[in-house]
Point group: D2
Chain length 304, copies 4
């Protein structure tokens, strides 16, 4: 239980409601900022106006998956007003306060460094990234079905990258009956791709390997689908680029060549906000519980 | 090869283009009715105005998947004019002419009986129905993703019916990581469901079995999701009804109770028209080849 | 419950113990013939000497999976004496008595016809055959592993036949990572093989299709692997023939050519006697319950 | 190509023949020690008597998977004589000579340290361990089928460990229709187990989680199945321990309690020596090619 822990939740979308629900069930004291349009009340939670407010006494601050914009703006779909995380707000927290966000942004990192607060970008965690790969895959499936006039079953698909997301993507499209080949650069990845019954290839062979595919799904956050690779692909091939912005595709060239290439960020929040929210909620509940226990054991220590 | 065979193709959508392409490649003489807006020309095909035209000399007539409407109207997305199959048109065909459509309709059946022509509804064929189940499944996946805020993976899904479509639906949702239970009434179906690693139940237990599911996909063309069954389901459960119109759901009651229930006919033509067209094209090419060979062998016979 | 039903169980192996256990739990009156070496006593069961005994008063007689030999011999591994089903024994049963065996044998069929008793060969039932395919597949896997020096994963396997056993065999070897092609003669089977993600071929192409496989598993009870088909196969290919005796392989030719070909009957009883016994027990319990209910309803009818 | 590279192959079993075949095809100069009983000759290979021989001029020495015994004994199934790797032999190699074995042994490591030679235990490599997991899994399947009287399909199986072998084991038994739960201690492993459709549990819950399983397959090389864990398991449960000797099971206690527990080392070489040999051959060919290229580039460098 999180009894006694003061947690500020600043902004976010439907996913954050799952976080609030879970923390509320675990008896945290919740302070909701940027939820003025939200009807539903949660036990033990207080709604606060979004303007430059003090975060005094907070043990933890939870930001949305997207962190902050370059000026500190916080996405807040349940607020009619702009929500901003300012330096003053951060400074007002006690020293031991931990900030949790989905990803790290430049603005956040600089602010945390200046004010010497700890930032935990929870999407960096392997377990969260793997759980998140599940809704990501389903979003990818939806996009592929919407943007082709043929079935996934029986089609030739290349997946680029075999990390936390790539393994899930490859595995699932193979389960749907596609002929899946997967490109990676580590020998151990090529071995696992083989073991899982898919066709492995080394990224150095990318150009050749993409020459007769129907669909290419990229998960590598580096320019792998460069213009010369694109030029070697069938012109009708569909590209779904999952890598974080700006993706791994030369979209400019793809467009010029008349290829359909889609950059598709943030799929979990779009196709399965509830599941995506539960993933965050579970991870945050575990992390806050650990933080809570640590703090209490330290308090006990200092009391002696 | 279909050299010398006269085939009229009347109406249809993008799928029919695959049929035309295949028959054209097999050297049939094609007469296209209801394709006046189509730019592309196919070798050996002649476009004909859609109005009450003679089908004299035709060996085969191909109608769209939907057959005809109750007054003989033929769907024809590539025509600016209304296309109708009239009794006169049927009467103008030689006696040996065979009519192919997707499904049988009352109008068609009556007309064929009156004029003593043979009707082949190709979606009745087991092989065509099974191939068609593949795009049907993908359409169902797309709908489920679009209409839920949670992932298929990990959700509780009941599939009703284990025929040609039901087996594909159940198998694929299980492959996506859902907990799938399947309702059927034949012992052999319950056995196969078990063998395939899913949970079987007898349709007589439907009410109980649906009491805690997230998604119900129906393939039985009979009123299985009646009001009392619906009343026993969780109110948030999503129903996708694949059975041919009017489906197997009491939609009126579902709406009254505030449940989301979607009748989703014709998915193959919507989500994968090219694949769906190829399925029809393959089947028709085989059927016409058989017809052609039979006719030639009979001609040879009668010549002697 | 089977209260009041008199059932004689004559012979059998470990599987029959599951049958006895289940019938005993359902409160049938059991008469065990050919179980003299069995220590364990089951409630409500009576052991009887194996010699020419009367079956007077029996409602049902359960024979082993193998039925009887050509002279009426009944396999009975728990008996030190020979057990034989004689005409006199059959004649001693009441007219309504039903005989249950695994398969039909010539001796049994003739006897039943002469004495006008009903014979139910339960392995003929689709559901039983499908459940039985599960241990059959596992036995096949074991044989393949034992008789090859390479892995199933990555090997090229042809499965002949796509009936109740063939589908399970094909599906499971594909799940193990083999490249599986399946030969059948019905268009609907070729469609289902495709839908399930395997490579279909028509049996008319058998010779060509087997020319580069590592393992061939036959389920067709007809001479499909004839000498000329065998001659076209790689000499190192392993053949597992599951079809009932004499199998579908020209074993004589295979041996002459130095090919390893194994006829493997009765796998369920060998590799998973408990599961195999439970399959029989479930089926018999259902069948006897139906018989019991029918008899009671008829009794009630005649009483009136 | 390995032209000009001098490679001594000392001992081994059928797997080493695949290694010899591959290196021979890549044009290495092979010196075979401990192959006196081998009929077959490989191009470019020389057989040498097994007695204390000089390894002068060797660029690489290949030992069996098992490395050496505690006194330097080398397994050599194709030799009638004892084969021993002595300090003198190692000392006779040029300084740049690399020793390849499957696993590291104490004797080997000490010898290599004394003589300052490099030892490469190729089974340590992730890719080799993953490829090797494939025959390991098939050996495990065979053992499970042989040692149970029920089917894998439908049984309750716990896999302990989710490393390179554990993932393959779990995945494959699930594909066979077992209910698979997997125990691990890393959050990311629990996430991947979930994503793959199996039930995860934390190793701290081991005792509880094993209380109703039919089969337990261990891959953790540490005492996880201790006496108190075993005591909480069903007495009929089968244990297959894959971890390297002495395994992760208290075999003494298991025997005392009457539980069937099998330590099953070296499965790849037993059930699929050809595949296992090819895995080694591929890995060694890659490693020797890298070594060869490096040496040549250094030679070129030093020549300057
Ligand atoms: N669109 C969405 O909704 C969505 C959802 C989840 C994740 N994502 C994004 O998807 C991407 C992958 O996420 P992840 O969790 O799978 O990350 P990950 O586990 O780190 O995997 C990244 C993969 O890319 C490869 N890679 C990285 N840099 C490379 C380079 N320069 N050249 C070749 N290969 C390279 C990695 O190979 P090595 O192991 O060899 O480095 C690995 O296979 C990220 O950009 C993430 O933000 C998007
Ligand atoms: N929405 C789409 O895009 C789409 C695509 C393809 C098909 N469909 C439609 O889906 C439906 C199923 O097609 P299919 O090819 O799977 O047909 P099918 O092979 O005939 O299967 C029908 C299933 O429904 C069961 N069933 C039929 N009548 C029943 C009754 N009165 N009570 C209980 N169960 C009953 C059958 O069980 P038994 O074997 O025990 O009779 C069987 O399991 C059809 O209406 C078809 O038109 C729709
Ligand atoms: N070894 C064991 O332990 C074991 C266990 C179970 C079963 N079996 C045996 O395995 C065999 C198959 O059993 P099952 O339950 O799968 O039977 P099934 O469902 O009747 O299937 C038989 C298959 O063989 C095909 N077939 C039959 N006759 C054929 C012919 N003349 N030419 C071409 N194909 C033909 C059938 O095709 P169509 O549908 O086109 O006719 C079907 O695909 C039987 O002999 C059975 O006794 C053995
Ligand atoms: N029998 C055979 O034929 C055969 C074949 C191949 C391999 N093996 C043996 O199988 C074992 C596993 O091989 P592998 O390639 O899978 O190794 P691996 O990739 O290192 O995996 C080892 C697994 O054990 C866990 N583990 C290690 N020490 C642990 C501890 N003290 N407590 C809890 N968990 C622990 C690891 O978890 P963490 O990641 O959390 O450390 C990991 O899940 C080895 O002993 C290997 O020699 C046997």
């Amino acid at each position: 239980m999180l009894t006694g822990l003061n947690v500020a939740v600043i902004g976010g979308d439907a996913r954050q409601l799952e976080v609030i629900r879970s923390l509320s069930e675990h008896d945290a004291n919740l302070f909701l900022i940027g939820f003025d349009q939200l009807e539903h009340g949660y036990t033990g939670s207080v709604k606060i106006n979004s303007h430059n407010i003090s975060l005094e006494g907070m043990d933890a601050v939870i930001l949305p998956v997207s962190g902050t914009g370059s000026e500190g703006q916080v996405e807040a779909v349940f607020s009619a007003e702009e929500v901003v995380l300012t330096r003053e707000m951060v400074a007002s927290t006690p020293e031991h306060c931990i900030f949790y966000s989905g990803i790290r942004t430049k603005y956040l990192e600089e602010l945390m460094e200046k004010e010497k607060r700890k930032l935990v970008p929870i999407l960096d965690r392997d377990d969260v990234a793997i759980y998140n790969s599940i809704p990501t895959v389903e979003g990818t499936i939806m996009l592929v079905i919407q943007h082709t006039d043929f079935t996934i079953h029986g089609s030739n698909i290349a997946v680029i990258g075999f990390g936390r997301t790539g393994m899930s993507v490859a595995r699932t499209f193979a389960a749907l009956g596609a002929n899946v080949k997967v490109g990676a650069r580590k020998q151990k990845d090529l071995a696992r791709i083989t073991e899982m019954g898919m066709k492995p290839f080394h990224l150095s062979e990318l150009k050749d390997e993409l020459s007769s595919i129907d669909i290419c799904i990229n998960t590598v956050p580096a320019l792998v689908l460069s213009s010369d690779v694109l030029a070697a692909m069938p012109i009708h091939a569909l590209i779904i680029d999952l890598a974080s912005k700006p993706g791994g595709t030369d979209f400019h060239y793809a467009e010029k060549r008349g290829m359909k290439a889609i950059l598709a960020p943030g799929l979990p929040g779009i196709v399965a906000p509830r599941t995506a929210g539960q993933i965050l909620a579970n991870a945050l509940t575990i992390l806050l519980t650990e933080q809570h226990q640590l703090e209490r054991s330290m308090d006990n220590g200092s009391e002696r």
